[in-house]
Amino acid sequence: MLEYQSIYWNPILETLSQEKLRALQVKKFRRIVAWAYNNSPFYRRLYQEAGLEPGDIKGLEDIRKVPKTEKGMMREVQQDEPFPYGDMLAVPLDQVTAFRQTSGTTGTPVYQADTWQDWEWWSECWCYILYAQGYRDTDRVFIPFGYNIFVAFWAGHYAAEKLGCEVVPGGVLDTQARILKMQELRCTAFMATPTYVLGMADAARNKLGIDPAKDLAIQRITCAGEPGASIPTTKRRMEEAWGAKVYDHIGATEIGAWSYECTEQPGGLHVNEAFFLVEIEGLETGESITEPGKEGKMVITALDRIAKPCIRFDSKDVIRWADHPCDCGRTFRVIDGGVVGRADDITKVKGVLLAPTAIEEVARSISGLGDEYEVIVSKKGDIDDILLKVEILPGQEGEQESILFRLKDQLRVKTNLGYRIEAHPYGSLPRYEVKAKRFKDLRKKGG
């Protein structure tokens, strides 16, 4: 009993056989589809147009009959009543207790409604994440986040409290004040985007003369918002900078907190299959992918979210199942390498498919380079051009030529593309506190 208690937030669900998990998912999928059909005019319309009634879903094989949803639909309906969510809403407006919105990095922000029950659900999902990453009631958790309209680490805050951790909200403090507060209170854990984890370490070293790995007590860091914690070279930089374990989590405002890395760090993230149903579809063909190792686009259902249901949502995230179970004993399947790209980010340059994460993986692997970089894809006449801006670390300027040679060489090997590389003075490229925008495709309108 103690062994279970020490590892799992819910040993029943987290060790359920795959067969039973599928049965649970079908039962919950039928329930959420019926809920949406009966309570959301948008979903009722969508399903009626497809000639589908909730009772038509009998088993796993019927799930693909249910029409998919996507962000564009959410943007479209939120122009209508009830304001500001539109008729995707499946509860009376007076039951909505929280507003959040997406960051708007891919277009007009989507507004998200949650009831109090939904909010409990959000923090419950985060409890699975934090418990699996070793958070316990002995932790003092600092949250250096702006506590605003973005969901980001809000649910992480509530989940940490639910676990019994002592939570320090680092809301309006600036970066240096946050670092000093973390040091003063001997905080043991914090949550931030990978960009900010590296940025804080940089500020600690260069502005405060503090070495986070030696002078602070951080043991674990939970990352979200960007893929960095699943990119081995970026993860290594963060872990070395802080002398702490770095764990990834992937979630989304319109979906929920659907995946997490555990303390085994299996090279991927568990999908919380008791609360979410993840399907993978072929990028070109749309065929269902169930076998490990094959990349495709994620279609996801939040099985218990009621105010604004998220059913068969085409997330555009590119993922693949891992081919081995995790040593932690959880039966929730692992997505290998986290989200390996976005269907709308993977772009053809000079006829070659390029994922921005591949550039990050290389740039962060070269010693002598700073953490920041920027990629600009443009057209020079009829030919695609990739400009990569990097910073050389202070004291490494004499090695610039050799550093850039290694960078160019590795980029060609890993991405099959040639780059123009510019070395910029350390500290001159933009710094970000939340989600970084390092990849700019000027060939696209607004890119």
Binding site: M1, K27, W119, E120, E124, A274
Partner: protein
């Protein structure tokens, strides 16, 4: 192998739900009772997601 007393736990959860709903019905216009019960019911739902939903599969 640990044996979980799922049926028993679920029974108690359902009694809690019944009690909370009954109390909500009697709250009348007392917001202090009604709104606190909304929160209690949301927490009971989390117990159901963790236990009751899976009881026939364990």
């Amino acid at each position: 192998m640990v044996e979980w007393k799922i049926e028993e736990i679920d029974e108690l959860i359902q009694r809690m739900r019944q009690l909370a709903e009954e109390l909500k019905g009697k709250a009348g216009e007392i917001q202090a009772v009604e709104r606190n019960l909304d929160r209690i019911l949301a927490n009971i739902k989390m117990l159901e997601l963790n236990i009751s939903d899976v009881k026939e599969l364990v």
